[in-house]
Amino acid sequence: MQRVFVAGVGMTRIGRRSEPLPALMAEAARAALADAGLEEPDAIVIATMNPEEFVGDGNFASNVATHMGFSDVPAVRIETATSSGAAAFYMGFAQIAAGLRRTVLIVGGEKMTHLATPKVSEIIGRSIDPYERTYGATMPALAGLVTRALMTRQGVTAREISQVAVKNHAHGARNPLAHFRQAVRIEEVLESRMVADPLRLMHCCPISDGAAAVVLSADRAPVRVAGVGHGADTLAVRHRLELTSFAATRAAAREAYAMAGFGPERVDVAEVHDAFTPFELISLEDLGLIPPGKAGRATLDGETALDGRLPINPSGGLKARGHPLAATGVAQLVECVWQLRGSAEGRQVANASRALAHSIGGLATNNWVTLLEGA
């Protein structure tokens, strides 16, 4: 297998953006290409979750490639719901690892804020099992079921899931590209509006626009892709054997650690999929980064804060950086690269040499774990 390096990264400011989606994706892609010192990649992999419904356009690989002046560069679009960005990264990685291409541009993006929230929820909800949808299941509803089980059966407290939001907002306040750049107090989180009992508004990530891009290369660069893993689980939540742990994360982590040849104990910093703050606690344990049953306590103790033993979501995570769906998986990797290069100004984790990115697709049906290493 050919070794794969990250030659360049770039991303837009995340938040409410007025530009069309192809323009946002071009902005991120051009930044990544400039960072890599590359004018034209051998191939392009695009990630968008649902441009057909969010912006009304299809054939999006050709759309974005053409917009950027790459109409003659082979481009494909990858979709695995909310983890599409991480999936696209894997497809780019695989092309280089297999020796099929020397350079691949991966760009993920989504534009949603121009639509009303109920419409956005409905479109995101299409990634849920159709039968469960007939009962009004939305992502927050299913996350509410998971959270209730987590609190009742594992003893996780409202304070613990709220502290995740406090921590990630504090990190986001240091990230100039984050959607939310203000710190929040735990009382604000605990008293925010109930969305899907026991899940409150400030336990949920925002609706955001934005794009992120990575250039992968067979040529040596300061950051190497050490391992990538993919795990899958049933579309229907009712077909799951367990609610408070995601089998897809555990499978993805096993595969990624095996490829990398190192385990969770060697990870210095991680970007974890906190679309709902309890998911960060579940995922930390699924990834083996925190022992089972300890993630809530570790969060309250500050272990996962920027100055803690294992900083989690230095970018602010989905909660504060924002969650432009298919951009997210790529944005997590961009943050990891900045951390490994020592260029995450204002939120740099000291001496980070191995980083992990974890992305959840749908309600944990299609999850990815990517490990990067300073080369």
Binding site: T117, P118, S121, E122, G125, Y131, E132, R133, Y135, G136, A137, T138, P140, A141, G144, L145, V146, T147, R148, A149, T152, R153, R193, M194, V195, A196, D197, P198, L199, T234, A236, V237, R238, H239, R240, L243
Partner: protein, 148 residues
Amino acid sequence: MRGPPGMMETIAASKCPRCDMVVAPPATYCPYHPVAMVPATLSGVGEIVSFTTLHMPPEGFRSPLHIALVELDGGGRFVCHGAGTRGLKIGATVAIEAVDDVYYFSHLGALERARLFWRRAGHAGDRVNAIARSLTKRVWKGRQRAAR
């Protein structure tokens, strides 16, 4: 078998001949094995696995919307609605009943179940509309099934 006799709903399900997993409603193939499932029937009694109250339900549902995941006796987890979740606990035994093809859990006794029906029927303000809608839905669903 738990629950009061005589008012038990039956729920159509399917079972995997390889791993014995039961799913409801029935599926063509086992979610974990590429083998055809065989039909099974479950009784409408089970245990609450988890529940939530949705305060911003999608279009077509009234707020607050109570949703529960129930582990049915005989296996298989089932998603259903309820009239309320006050006093409800994970692990509680509930009965499941169909009202207009929609399944509801109930741990609240007959009076609450009757209210459920009226609540749903009163959705558009009058009962006739609700019945008409339910009939239309049945016809439409029937067509959908035929088309498959």
